[in-house]
Symmetry: C2
Subunit: 334 residues, 2 copies
């Protein structure tokens, strides 16, 4: 069986690719695990060094915004597709056409390629809690409507709707997972409004001072990269019956405030590191972050076997472990 | 000011065009009604005879499925767009590509044409209660999520999401109205799965036997063409503040069973006519219709001044009046 991963050079994508290569199999039928013959990694960015040399990997550096990216890659051998590639929230707000082409048209073209080129592949679509928005209840339940207030959220919501309709028609077997904010993201702070959620942990650990742009009582809904990768693979391996007619699930995460993040960092890494954090609210960031839902009751996700992290302390420790391992491997950070 | 109507040769479309020509104005600003200089009627079908001779009307017979239909028609003079054209539910289930091209891509192209060619026009998008589906509460409220179970419903839902995002970005001033099943539709039965709801009244009145494809206890949520046209024009004329950030509304309608329709027909037109109805369930139609919600609590729609019909009897009488008027005018039925 072949597996195709879009966005396979990204933060989550390269971890999904690494996990799949390490496992070597994916279970998609009752008769047990199937070997991964070729892992097709599609990304507009160059492939991550860590897996570029693996003979099972076929890297395709290509732009989703182009009409013919997916069609030539899809064959009846492709049994599982992980659709993780997307233009991110900040980009989509600043460049409307980019989001429309990459997130909306790119997803539609991928689905069409699955329909016409593959044989009812399982497709895991990485949606986001950014698909929620507007006037929300205090706690988001499985019944809370998606009323996105950003172009990115709108495009994720449309991707879910299309994935469901293609599944209903039998063109593919789709599974949409709404990811919480995934922390701790390595690298440098970026333009994303959520950048602080990773930076407040990462920057002090890397010896940097960090000025947090939101107040300590800001709450968010988070998941570690390890759990995110587990969830995406679990979504692919669950039997279709576990999804039923509802092909979406909101992943379990944990709700933490920035204060709790800082306290956990202090606990794990000590005062000297935690004292590198200052607060200086940025009204622009604050306004965006204020609209994000932070409290969830993800009953369906839990009942389907998806798992949140145990604690923010565990997330920080996993970040420290993963980073020291990456450094010792000499792998390139993305 | 110019007004553009898509689907202007259709059942609702030609009635909206007739109403706009009769009024001669649309109010879109605080300073009162603006004259309609040109009414651009776009439809893949030929224009209705009734208004083809009006000097204000410019008929464009063109296919939404083609990329260049809308762009040349959109100018800064276009102040209001009624987007009523669509491939209907039964067609979209049988021809997936048709729905994708006409309903999804056609709507996206119209929105893009508004964004690039017009000056923040008001856009009224005819959505549908078919956007609801799946596991629904007994009564649909304003907070019930859209979980469509047909391609048509999916495409209407996506149209709403796009209209809202284009509105949020200031590219246009969108208003999405979810229409109940509009009865009584004149002409012949069509491929809409809801076709029976009109046919069960119309066919016996026109001297035909009618075999109803759903059981008598099938409930549906209905609105007359008169009220539908009033609602669409009202949606265009409401100030933006009346919509706020939520650019969708579920229109008030009335809930009736097929049995109640037949009883009302018997009451209005007599036993001889009502006795022309037989029942023979059709599994394809039944499956589609079964998923449609029939009971609503449309608080928001009522608070915004949208009105349901008083009774099913009133709807039948209005149909008889409109039809006899059309016959005496010699107008072509569509």
């Amino acid at each position: 069986m072949d597996v195709l991963v879009t966005g396979g050079s990204g933060f989550i994508g390269k971890r999904v690719v690494a996990k799949l290569l390490e496992r070597g199999t994916v279970t998609t039928h009752d008769n047990g695990p199937a070997d991964i013959d070729t892992l097709i990694v599609v990304d507009v960015a160059p492939p991550a060094d860590a897996f570029a040399g693996d003979p099972r990997v076929r890297c395709v550096q290509a732009d989703f915004a182009l009409p013919d990216t997916f069609a030539p890659l899809m064959t009846p051998k492709v049994g599982v597709v992980f659709h993780l590639g997307a233009a991110v929230s900040g980009e989509c707000e600043q460049d409307f056409d980019l989001g429309l082409q990459v997130n909306l048209m790119g997803t539609l073209r991928l689905l069409e390629a699955c329909r016409h080129g593959a044989d009812q592949p399982r497709l895991v679509f990485a949606s986001s809690v950014a698909a929620y928005g507007g006037e929300l209840p205090d706690v988001i339940s499985d019944d809370t409507p998606l009323t996105p207030q950003t172009s990115y959220g709108t495009q994720k919501c449309i991707g879910e709707l299309l994935t469901k309709d293609y599944s209903r028609k039998g063109f593919l077997d789709g599974r949409c997972v709404r990811l919480p904010t995934v922390i701790v993201r390595p690298g440098r702070p970026n333009q994303a409004a959520s950048s602080f959620a990773s930076a407040v942990i990462r920057e002090p650990l890397q010896g940097e001072q960090y000025t947090c742009p939101v107040p300590p009582d800001t709450a968010m809904y988070v998941l570690s990269p390890r759990r995110a990768v587990e969830a995406l693979v679990h979504a692919a391996e669950l039997p279709a019956a576990a999804w039923g007619t509802n092909r979406s699930v909101c992943l379990p995460g944990i709700t933490v405030t920035v204060r709790e993040l800082v306290d956990a960092l202090r606990n794990v890494a000590g005062d000297a590191i935690a004292d590198r954090i200052r607060f200086q609210p940025d009204r622009f960031i604050e306004q965006i972050v204020h609209g994000w839902p932070a409290r969830f009751a993800p009953k369906r996700g839990l009942s389907m076997g998806f798992q949140a992290d145990d604690s923010i302390r565990e997330i920080i420790q996993a970040f420290i472990e993963d980073e020291s391992q990456e450094s010792s491997n000499g792998a390139q950070r993305i």
